[in-house]
């Protein structure tokens, strides 16, 4: 009994000791991650990066970035939104089919679908260029980059949504709707998709984020007239002052963060409205 008490108090002390250690580790990791961002933002607002904030604050780098690369910001946002819509249209029905199918072919297809995530973006891009590079109109338009982004982000949506569709209660919901006389389309859009809406929204958020920041594949697929934000960023880092590159990062944050916050708010709302599972 005494020994048990001793052990209990030791565990308790251990718990009290753990807290400051864990807090310190968390703070250190956070600082390590946030510091580069802060430095980058400061650099984008400083007159001279080497002398830091002491050189005085300015917005001229931001103005310059906007005039040089402003179009890439909207291209990227539009591209990511289009990619999200396309992946939704293709990925959600595909996820349902994969979740319901028990055939071996479906499992093989699922593995193949994940390949573009494992294969380096450069290789996927090269394959796309080899296959469709000759289609001039397609090759020179944003549609070519969009195709690349869809190939790259589709598995994320399919995986997320098919895991949700595979829930056993979903099969009962489907059967209940069938017994009430609902056709496949009525069931799919009226019962099944709303039941997995939180997962679909989470998947969409992931697709948007991945598409907006995608560089590897886009760098290979872009033309001087079809540049996205990350490609522009690489260009500015490579060919301009570090302050311009940093200001570009700041612009990126300013444009993307509100969109991500808004999308996360939608995700939270969906979780609240549709996420209530039954016990």
């Amino acid at each position: 009994m005494k020994r048990a008490l001793k052990r209990c108090s030791a565990t308790h002390q251990q718990g009290r000791l753990d807290a400051p250690v864990l807090l310190s580790v968390t703070l250190l990791v956070t600082l390590f991650t946030v510091l580069p961002m802060l430095l980058s933002i400061t650099a984008g607002l400083s007159n001279n990066f080497t002398r830091g904030v002491a050189s005085g604050l300015t917005t001229r780098w931001i103005v310059e970035v906007w005039s040089l690369y402003g179009s890439t910001v909207w291209s990227s946002v539009l591209l990511a939104l289009s990619c999200m819509v396309l992946v939704l249209c293709i990925g959600v029905p595909c996820a349902w089919a994969l979740a319901r199918s028990e055939s071996r072919a479906a499992r093989v297809f699922e593995d193949l679908l994940t390949l573009p995530v494992a294969v380096p973006g450069l290789a996927s891009a090269l394959a796309l260029i080899l296959a469709y590079g000759e289609l001039r109109g397609f090759r020179q338009s944003f549609l070519f980059i969009l195709a690349g982004h869809v190939v790259f982000t589709l598995p994320f949506m399919v995986r997320t949504a098919s895991a949700a569709f595979a829930r056993p209660d979903l099969q009962s919901l489907d059967e209940a709707a069938r017994s009430l006389g609902a056709s496949f389309l009525q069931r799919f859009f009226g019962v099944l998709v709303p039941a997995v809406a939180p997962s679909i929204v989470a998947g969409s958020l992931m697709v948007f984020t991945l598409s907006v920041g995608e560089f590897n594949l886009t760098w290979m697929l872009h033309t001087p007239l079809t540049r996205t934000l990350p490609v522009g960023l690489a260009d500015s880092y490579a060919s301009m002052r570090i302050e311009i590159g940093s200001a570009y990062t700041l612009v990126f944050f300013t444009v993307i963060l509100p969109i991500l916050w808004a999308m996360q708010a939608v995700a939270r709302w969906t979780e609240k409205a549709y996420g209530s599972k039954l016990g």
């Binding site: 059967e175 009430l180 039941a195």
Partner: protein
């Protein structure tokens, strides 16, 4: 609940009652596992039939075959009122289903759930509102129309599931363990409610359950299933009193086993006396008897009032007070048999008392029959 009927209005379910015929339906899954042996069964119009059996006995498979969610093996047929519906999918079979975990649409309100079947059928909105209102009254959910399933208790969810199934006036109602997810007390209350509702609706219903009390309370007839086949069909009372199969006897309630040696004597030895053995049981080496049929008498001498009855002796091994009754474990004197006897709750027998016991030979049941197989 019975407002419609009390007001003299037409009963809610105006759809004519349907006879269900299952003809030689079997189900073999990929890999050769036979979940259901060739089975035939008729459910009369307006009848409530319970498919009763332990898990894995094929009762849910049979229900899903009737529903149209599973196709039977080649040769099996399902007919509603004589019309073959085997190839008709569940969407077109007009069956109402209540699932074990209710399968309520989580994003819809109570009235949204109940009206779903009518909406997908394209029924005009005012008519849907009226019908949903009627069904909500019927299952006593008034005031909860705007709630989501997650905001309801288990019993309320069960009622919504039932209301949703009957709102479309199905030809038959199929219930797949509808009370299993509820706790014991609620289950009892809802069991009685469900039984009453099914009578009021006068709808043909098939009710799957592994709980014999539930089956006895709700169903007009029971089909007891074991290892993919129906062992016996009949009224609950008949099945309990005169089971045609030892499995039925054991599944429908507790039984005692009494050993006998058919070669040594024609009767049944019981604590120093010999009871008459019914002719039909002469070959049996083991007999079954229900605890409530083991009668006891306290006191030093056997009761003279019951002349003609042989009273043996037994010692009380254990006495358990179960609230509404007392259960005794009795060691039959001179035999290896231990019998359980249910007695009224004021039974004075104590542990180690010697008591007189007897069994009405008419209550003895056989313990063996040909082995069950497809």
């Amino acid at each position: 609940m019975d407002q419609n009927l009390a007001n003299g209005a037409e009963p809610f379910n105006a759809a004519p009652s349907t006879r269900i015929e299952v003809m030689e339906c079997a189900k073999t899954y990929v890999g050769g596992v036979q979940a259901l042996c060739p089975t035939s069964l008729t459910v009369q119009p307006g009848e409530v039939l319970a498919l009763l059996g332990p898990s894995g006995c094929g009762k849910t498979t049979l229900l899903r075959v009737i529903a149209g969610l599973i196709d039977p093996d080649r040769g099996g047929r399902i007919a509603f009122n004589g019309k073959d519906v085997t190839v008709r999918p569940i969407e077109k079979r007009s069956v109402g289903m209540v699932f074990q975990h209710y399968a309520l649409f989580p994003q819809m309100t109570v009235e949204g759930n109940i009206g779903y079947g009518l909406r997908v059928r394209g029924v005009p909105a005012p008519q849907i509102r009226r019908r949903v209102g009627e069904v909500i009254d019927l299952v006593r959910l008034t005031g909860l129309e705007k709630r989501r399933p997650a905001q309801l208790s288990g019993g309320q969810r069960q009622r919504v599931a039932l209301a949703r199934a009957v709102a479309v006036q199905p030809r038959v109602l199929l219930l797949d363990e509808p009370l299993t997810a509820l706790d014991a007390k609620l289950k009892e209350a809802l069991r009685d409610e469900l039984a009453q509702l099914l009578r009021e609706l006068h709808i043909t219903a098939v009710h799957v359950t592994h709980d014999q009390t539930e089956a006895l309370a709700i169903a007009d007839r029971l089909a007891v299933m074991q290892a993919g086949r129906i062992v016996q069909v009949g009224r609950g009372e008949d099945l309990y009193r005169q089971p045609g199969h030892p499995f039925v006897a054991e599944f429908l309630g507790r039984v005692n086993r009494l050993q006998r040696d058919p070669t040594a004597n024609a009767g049944v030895a019981l604590g120093g006396v010999e009871l008459a053995c019914p002719a039909a049981l002469h070959r049996q080496t083991t007999l079954l008897v229900r605890p409530e049929d083991v009668q006891i008498h306290l006191g030093t001498a056997p009761p003279f009032a019951a002349q003609g009855t042989s009273w043996g002796q037994a010692r009380v091994l254990q006495r358990s007070f179960l609230g509404n009754r007392v259960q005794l474990r009795l060691m039959v004197l001179g035999q290896a048999d231990v019998l359980v006897s249910d007695q009224p709750r004021d039974c004075a027998a104590a542990v180690n008392d010697t008591v007189h016991i007897t069994i009405d030979p008419a209550c003895l049941m056989p313990a063996s029959l040909n082995a069950v197989s497809c």
